[in-house]
Structures are given as structure tokens and as C-alpha cells.
């Protein structure tokens, strides 16, 4: 496998193991153990930088795709009319997306909050685009970046959803909104009651209730983030292993990519739907 690979990826890696682990590393910018600001040269060094470092590649692609998302929508809005849009026009696509998100929100969110639908739309479209980056062959953009930067060992990850920080960024933001709306709608006492008076509505059962309810509450953002991250990290690893197989990778990559189109959409939809459901729970008393 190693020989096959070195033929294809331009003799940059000594072994298949190094190829995979290099492709899973981030371009991390931060302060290293000597106190100098700069890019990490290895995943170990990135880890040593601690919390106050930033994965420039994930952040870059995340923001780029976000701008692409709102740019596309703004472009459509500028030319949009209330007349029936032309067949095969971009306005149709945007309207289908909006209506899809709108029906999803209406089916799972019963309170009134003008934030929820745009939030759901942003989550769906943005995560969908991030996930779509998975379908670009794994070496194309890293090789391009390495060539442009003139550094053959540059770390450059393309799929932001394979970064736990990105998915956690989403889910913790949603978590903050859940807590905020729980407080706002139910008041501090109502929110507290959810943990102490469920599922057993007796005051002396409060400790047991807390033990039962709190992990479930805290698991929500974790499961959101880890589900998305896990799916795409695993998908990425499979793509990398397929990329090591020489010419065999062509049919295999095609098959896995087709399968991944499903995963890309499904995971974006799941994240959006669960966000709506969690926020609905924050808005309604049990």
C-alpha cells in the first residue's frame, strides 16, 4: 500500500500511516511551548499549544462556506420577484430550501420565535456545505494549498465538520440558546423544577431526579456535536484509506462518495431537526 501511495501522492509520505495521520492533522496557529506565535508543525505540537490556539484551516473553510451560503441567498434575493420564478433558476432552489426548513420548523416547533427558522436554515445550509467538502477528492485542495504555500508538509484540512471544535461550536451555541430560552420562558424556578420534579414529582425525590435529568440535558449538545463529528471523521478516514489504493480508489471512491451524499444530507438534516426539537423543549413546559 505504501508503494502504491507514494506513486500517487508525489512521494511526500513515507508510509500509509503517515499519509493518513497527516491528512487528519489541522493547520493550528498558536503559541508553542517556547512562547513563539506560529503554526504547529505536527499534531503533537498543536496539542501542546493548549486551548488558546486556532485551527486556521477549519475556521477558514467554515467562514468561507458561511459567506458562500449567505452570499448565494443574498444574490437570489436581489433578483427575486414575487412572480413565478423561472424553471431551473436559483430562486427555485432557494425557495424549496426555505419552504423545506419552514415546514420542518412548523412541524416540530410550536411556540412563536422569529429566531428559530433562520437558525434552522443557517444550520442546515451551512452544515450541508461543510459536509459537501467531504466529496472533493482528499488530496486536491491540500496539494493545492501545499503548492501555493511552498510547504510540502503543510497541514490543510478541508472538511470543517471533521473538526470537533466546529461541531461543538454549533452545538454549544444551541445549548446556550436552550438555556437562555428555558430561563426566559419558564423562569429560573420553572427551569429548576424540570430537573428536580421530573420524572418523580415529590420534593424528597429531587436528588434522584437531578441524577436522572441532568446527564440527559448535558448529553444533548454532546450528542449533537459528536454525532456530526463522528460521522464525518469516520467518513474522512475511509476516504483516506480508499485514496491509498492506487487506481482501485476510482470505483471505490465513487461508491463511497455516492453513499456519502446521503450521509451529508442526513446529518445536516438531523442536526437542524434536533436543534428545533431541543429549542421547542426549551419553550414548552413538560
Amino acid at each position: 500500500m505504501a508503494e502504491l501511495h507514494t506513486e500517487i501522492a508525489g512521494l511526500r509520505y513515507e508510509s500509509a500511516n503517515e499519509y493518513v495521520s497527516h491528512h487528519l492533522g489541522f493547520l493550528t496557529f498558536g503559541r508553542n511551548h517556547e512562547g513563539h506565535l506560529g503554526f504547529a508543525h505536527s499534531p503533537e505540537e498543536a496539542k501542546e499549544m493548549g486551548f488558546w490556539a486556532i485551527n486556521v484551516d477549519s475556521m477558514l473553510w467554515s467562514v468561507l462556506l458561511g459567506i458562500l451560503f449567505i452570499g448565494l441567498f443574498r444574490f437570489v434575493i436581489k433578483n427575486a420577484t414575487a412572480e413565478a420564478p423561472k424553471a431551473k433558476s436559483l430562486q427555485n432552489v432557494v425557495e424549496i430550501l426555505i419552504e423545506f426548513v419552514d415546514t420542518s420548523v412548523k412541524s416540530a416547533f410550536y411556540a412563536k420565535n422569529p429566531l428559530i427558522a433562520p437558525l434552522a436554515l443557517t444550520i442546515f445550509c451551512w452544515i450541508f456545505m461543510m459536509n459537501m467538502m467531504d466529496l472533493i477528492p482528499v488530496d486536491w485542495i491540500p496539494l493545492l494549498a501545499q503548492t501555493v504555500a511552498g510547504d510540502p508538509h503543510l497541514y490543510f484540512k478541508v472538511v470543517p465538520t471533521t473538526d470537533i471544535n466546529i461541531t461543538l461550536g454549533f452545538s454549544l451555541s444551541v445549548f446556550v440558546l436552550m438555556i437562555y430560552y428555558s430561563f426566559k420562558i419558564k423562569g429560573p424556578m420553572g427551569f429548576l423544577k424540570e430537573f428536580t420534579m421530573h420524572p418523580f414529582p415529590k420534593w424528597y425525590m429531587a436528588p434522584l431526579n437531578i441524577i436522572l435529568e441532568l446527564p440527559g440535558f448535558l448529553a444533548k449538545p454532546m450528542s449533537l456535536a459528536l454525532r456530526l463529528y463522528g460521522n464525518f471523521f469516520a467518513g474522512e478516514v475511509i476516504f483516506l484509506i480508499i485514496a491509498l489504493l492506487g487506481y482501485w480508489q476510482l470505483p471505490l471512491h465513487f461508491g463511497w462518495a455516492v453513499f456519502h451524499i446521503l450521509v451529508v444530507t442526513l446529518q445536516a438534516y438531523l442536526f437542524m431537526m434536533l436543534t428545533i426539537v431541543y429549542l421547542n423543549q426549551a419553550h414548552t413546559e413538560h
Binding site: 485551527n55 419552504e99 443557517t122 470537533i164 461550536g169
Partner: protein, 156 residues
Amino acid sequence: MNFNATLIGQSIAFAFFVWFCMNYVWPPIVGILEERQKKIADGLEAAARAQKDLSLAHESVKKQLETTKHEAAAIIELANKRANQIIDESKIQAREEGQRLLVQAKSEIEQEVMRAKESLRFQVSAIAIAAAEKILEKSVDKAANEEMLNKLASEL
């Protein structure tokens, strides 16, 4: 897994994009969709209204046609009556005219007869004189007998 500040960066970016979407993406598109829905609803309503109007118009046309028929029938009847009346009137007039002509003719005939009688009377008196002359073989003095002759003529 390596947690770092990307988490915070992503959260900030997320907040920004949601804010942007909430203010500049979602409302205009939903506004357009609602406007279109309203347009379609209005169009359907207008179509229903037009259909109702059409049926109403059909009905009124029918009614009008019927009244027109009635009116026409009445007019025809009236015209027939008037025609009969006119015919009757002219018949009477004609009869009167005939009568008048008849009376006139009669009086003319009478006059004619009178005239004929008169001339006949003169002729007869002339013949009588002539006859008397023949009988007396001499001429009667016209002047001497004028009075008698005139008396005779008037008696005839």
C-alpha cells in the same frame, strides 16, 4: 480530539451568520413567498368572482331576452290592432265617399233630366207651334201669341 479556541471562533461565526440570516435572508424570501401566495389567492378569488358574474350576466341576458320577446309580441299585437282599425276606418271612409259620389251623381242626373225636360219642352212647344201653323195654314203671329205659347210651354 484537540479542543482549542476554534470552538469560540466557530461560535462567533455561527452567531454572526444566524444574525445575518435572521435579518437579511429569511424575512425577504418569506415576504416574497407570502406575497406570491396572496397573489395566487387573489387570482383564484377573482376567477371565482368572474365566474359568478358570468352566470349572473347569463341570467340577466335570459331575463332581458324574455322581456324583449314579450314586448315584441305586445307591439306586434298592437300593430295588428291598429292595422285592423285603419282598415276599418278606411272602409267607412270609402263607403262615405261612395255615398257622397252617389248623391252627387244623382243630383247631376236630376239636373240633366231637368235640363233635358226644359229643352224638350221648348222643342215640343216649337213643334206644337209648327203643327199649329200647319193646321191653320198660316203663320201665327209669333209676337201675338207669345204669351199663350209661353203659357203652353210652362204647362208641358
